[in-house]
């Protein structure tokens, strides 16, 4: 069985279309990042979170207002997997024990017969939160830098620039998605350590795809020296299309399974991976290569005897 064999789509002249799509996505993402903006999880903002199981189903909005009335703090309550489990979050710091007792007592007294039981707590003090936030930023920037370096060494600077732009494009769109929908989804889309790990994984994965295409482009550039670069790139993409779609396909299957039945804890994480891998595949084909071609045409390498690494 084969799909996408011997295709000869003209990827590169559909430049305009793909630039348009990417442009729109990026614009929406950037606007979303400004408003409503990203919601930081308690990892990075500090606060306390409880997972509470109850005998009876309690609507989350009612629970939030009951808790808010009782304490004067803002509580965010979401369903966690099923209607008898709630994720209760607040930016309030302080003694986790006292807060826990307050939460349990309030729910018990406001909702008869609920007999709430706390199944999990997570509490982060302000110092640790700011530490983690710093680390996360360093991590992401560091990873991008390392990748840049690696591609630069393996290929050349045009490829490196194209790779980093593509990765930035992917990361911004995924974050934009989180910003746009965090109030809408029934599960949490807050940015915490797991999401940062997902972003880094997306970076690693997207670069995979991109490298495979780059590798082909380079190989064909050597083989078909007289062909215009754009055509070579096109040919390379077409021949790797099958592989790119397949690998993305199987990985997406795996991540989709994770999202659907992998449990509540990993919902945000697996959604990030899902979107990120899809966007990463798209960008490897429609964003990375056109950039390489454009850079190459503008800054053509000096004519010289062909060496192994262009």
């Amino acid at each position: 069985m084969r799909i996408f064999e011997n295709t000869s789509f003209d990827f590169l002249s559909s430049n305009k279309d793909s630039y348009l799509i990417s442009g729109v996505l990026l614009l929406v993402a950037i606007v979303s990042l400004i408003y409503p903006g990203l919601e930081a999880g308690i990892d990075f903002k500090g606060g306390t979170e409880f997972i509470v199981t109850t005998e009876t189903a309690i609507p989350s909005t009612e629970a939030a207002s009951a808790l808010g009335d009782a304490t004067g703090e803002i509580f965010e309550v979401k369903e966690y997997g099923n209607e008898q489990t709630l994720l209760i979050r607040t930016a309030a710091g302080g003694d986790a024990e006292a807060l826990q007792n307050t939460v349990v007592n309030t729910i018990e007294s406001s909702f008869a017969g609920s007999s709430p039981r706390v199944d999990g707590t997570y509490s982060v003090g302000p110092r640790i939160a700011s530490d983690l936030k710093e680390k996360a930023i360093v991590l992401v920037l560091g990873a991008l830098f390392v990748i840049l370096l690696y591609i630069f060494v393996r290929f050349d600077w045009r490829y490196a620039v194209a790779a980093v732009l593509t990765l930035a494009h992917d990361v911004v769109i995924v974050l934009g998605l989180f910003a746009l929908f965090h109030n809408v989804t029934p599960f949490s889309l807050q940015i915490d350590q797991a999401i940062i790990a997902a972003l880094l994984t997306i970076v690693g994965y997207s670069i995979n795809d991109t490298v495979v295409v780059f590798d082909r482009i380079r190989e064909y550039a050597l083989l078909f020296k007289t062909e215009p670069y754009a055509e070579t790139a096109n040919r390379a993409i077409n021949t790797t299309l099958s592989r790119t779609i397949l690998t993305s396909g199987t990985t997406l299957i795996a991540v989709l399974i994770l999202f659907l039945i992998g449990g509540e804890v990993l919902k945000g994480f697996s959604l990030a991976l899902l979107v990120g891998i899809a966007i990463g595949t798209y960008s490897s084909i429609f964003v990375a290569s056109p950039i390489v071609v454009a850079l190459r045409e503008r800054y053509a390498p000096a004519r010289r005897v062909v060496t192994a690494n262009a």
């Binding site: 986790a96 006292a98 999990g120 003090g125 790990a197 795996a254 449990g263 990993l266």
Partner: protein, 645 residues
């Protein structure tokens, strides 16, 4: 076919090692299953007999992260500020206080250690101040003439020592708690990380970790004085908290209808209806007028009983009472040298809602005897009531002082305070000459054990606060394991099915390689003693999806080669060779990401990074070596026309 023998050997060796490493894990889960099936008596007997074996097996088994097996993760921070204050003793002044406050604020965002921040803050507050003004220590050569640098170095050393001692003490406390494989580790310049798998009694653990174990013995002020102060306080809040002008000849027993308490210690378990506290007929003539009366129920005591009790409070109201008592106007009404403290436990009973009620007790601030004199502590039982109690022994100095105190204060209460909470306030019946005493007070067996633990492991050098904590209850952990395992199985199956359909014969070969791949990943994890977390399982699933990639690259190349007319064998050789560079490049970058995540992440993220890295290595191996072996074998030895789809 070069190197086939070697390749076969490599595969065989890896397989063997993986199974060997995984054996304890399998055995452990079988053990657990068997144990669960036995009835309690049988189980205890079996556990006693085979304790060592069971322990060894469970230690060598693949460790599950806290998010899968449940447990607590706590990050403690040693109160360096408080330590500095203690070191300064009574040399502190306003500059010191201000500098300490601003250093504490700065420490939230700064990376520098606290001592440096404090030194800078002092400089900011009052330039040119010599630190030796506040800190002296003859043993460490810190005198009035010591330079700031020397003092800073000395302070940093003290902080370091305190951290080491704190870690030791915490380790001791945890050891006595009886957790299997706890993790206690220093982090940075002032933090200690504690991980307790399988524990979910958060409150108990928090108390155990935070308690500074300052045990002190106090006497109480005369009952009449206490009652007068209490009356004044209630009157103060009756009038909305304004300062009382003239003499406070407030009302006495006659016009109140509050409860009478016959004996000093509480063994009557009253059932309080919280409604009584607000509407009850105390000094508050109209309902809702007196904020103090709303939360604190006054208890009138018979002056001859020498009871130090002021009133009783429901647990959730204790914070409010503290706040009201801390108001400057209220503080003025409390006699100097007297403190009002709550009892540690719900000694006064329970409310109708089941909430604990604590006594508010008046205590002389002056410390009659320090906890340091205690040489030993142990659990004991009251010979008459069999109630659990703590039995303590004192050293010579302590014993003679104790003898003095008990001799001079017969029929008066002695209040035993631990970490600013009153544990018990028994009346002294007779002189105790030998320094052996029991601390009694409605303790459960568990509470007695905890008190003994805290007393024996010693006082923490500085107060410790919990800055981060994560608790996963067992049901949450189980849900995660179930979800993770299910996702892994389903994902694996789907990918296998897909490979079989798309690549046919070769796809089946790839599936065998995939199976070995997963086995090897677990083997690698087990051999490195790594911990499996939920993100770790996600990492394995991701690896399964990506492992296909290497195979795809190879098979696609083989197809291309075949199309360009080469024979099957030549196509296979060519395919593997040409795909190599692309495979290497692609996997190296993901591996690099894994390295970065591993070095900077903590806990579950590290688990993810580990499985990602292990997965890449194993999938490279299985795709290049295992798949090759099988296909070569089929093509060359058996002449099978392996279909590549």
């Amino acid at each position: 076919m070069q190197g086939t023998g070697f390749k076969l050997f490599a595969v065989g060796a890896l397989l063997f090692i993986s199974l060997w490493q995984l054996f304890p894990t399998i055995q452990n889960s079988l053990n657990n299953r068997d144990l669960a099936a036995m009835d309690p008596a049988e189980r205890e007997a079996y556990e006693a007999e085979n304790a060592d074996d069971l322990q060894a097996t469970s230690e060598e088994a693949l460790k599950l992260g806290l998010d899968l097996q449940g447990g607590m993760h706590v990050t403690l921070e040693v109160g360096t500020g408080a330590l500095l204050r203690e070191l300064a003793g009574n040399r502190t002044d306003d500059t010191f206080d201000a500098a300490l406050a601003s250093a504490t604020e700065a420490s939230v965002t700064s990376d520098q250690d606290f001592v440096t921040l404090f030194a800078d803050a002092i400089e900011d507050e009052r330039a040119g101040t010599r630190l030796a003004r506040y800190f002296r220590n003859a043993d460490a050569d810190i005198t009035a003439r010591s330079e700031n640098d020397a003092v800073i170095a000395y302070l940093q050393e003290e902080v370091e020592e305190a951290l080491v001692r704190a870690e030791e003490i915490i380790r001791q406390r945890i050891d006595r708690f009886g957790v299997t494989e706890p993790l206690i580790q220093r982090q940075g310049t002032s933090r200690i990380v504690v991980e307790l798998p399988g524990v979910d009694d958060e409150d108990r653990v928090r108390e155990l970790l935070k308690g500074t174990a300052q045990l002190t013995f106090h006497l109480a002020p005369p009952t009449a004085e206490i009652q007068q102060a209490a009356t004044n306080l209630f009157a103060y809040y009756e009038n909305g908290g304004e300062a009382l002008e003239a003499d406070t000849t407030a009302t006495t027993d006659s016009d109140t209808t509050a409860t009478e308490v016959a004996s000093a210690d509480a063994d009557t378990a009253d059932v309080l209806d919280l409604g009584d506290i607000t509407a009850g007929g105390d000094e508050a003539a109209e309902a809702g007028g007196n904020p103090l009366a709303a939360v604190l129920q006054r208890i009138q005591v018979d002056p001859s009983s020498n009871s130090p009790i002021v009133g009783q409070v429901a647990e959730s109201d204790t914070a409010e009472v503290s706040r009201l008592l801390a108001a400057p106007g209220a503080q003025r009404l409390i006699p100097p040298g007297v403190d009002f403290l709550f009892t540690a436990g719900p000694d006064a009973g329970v409310t109708a809602d089941g909430e604990g009620v604590h006594y508010l007790v008046a205590v002389n601030e002056r410390v009659e005897l320090q906890g340091e004199v205690i040489t030993d502590a142990g659990p004991d039982f009251d010979p008459y009531t069999n109630a659990p109690q703590v039995s303590i022994t004192m050293d010579g100095v302590g014993a003679s002082r104790w003898s003095q105190i008990t001799g001079a204060n017969r029929n008066k209460p002695v209040v035993i305070v631990l970490d600013n909470l009153v544990y018990t306030f028994p009346t002294i019946n007779e002189r105790i000459p030998n320094g052996r005493t029991q601390i009694t007070g409605n303790f459960s067996r568990q509470e007695v054990d905890d008190i003994v633990t805290v007393l024996k492991s010693g006082a923490l050098p500085a107060p410790v606060s919990i800055v981060e904590e994560r608790t996963v209850g067992p049901s949450l952990g189980e849900a995660s394991i179930r979800a993770g395992t299910r996702a892994l199985l389903v994902g694996f199956l789907l990918v296998c099915v897909f490979m079989a359909i798309y690549y046919r014969g070769a796809g089946l070969v790839a599936n065998v390689a995939l199976l070995l791949n997963v086995l090897f990943i677990f083997g690698v994890l087990a051999s490195f003693g790594a911990t499996l977390t939920l993100p770790g399982m996600a990492g394995i699933l991701l690896t399964i999806g990506m492992a296909v990639d290497a195979n795809v690259l190879i098979f696609e190349r083989i197809r291309e080669e075949m199309e360009s007319g080469k024979t099957l064998k030549a196509a296979v050789d060519g395919g593997f060779a040409k795909a190599l560079s692309a495979i290497a490049d692609a996997n190296i970058t993901t591996f690099l990401i894994g390295v970065i995540l591993f070095s900077f992440g903590v806990g579950p993220i590290q688990g993810f990074a580990v499985t990602l890295m292990a997965g890449i290595l194993t999938s490279l191996f299985t795709a290049l070596v295992v798949t090759r072996l099988i296909i070569d074998y089929l093509v060359q030895e058996r002449g099978v026309k392996v279909a590549f789809g």
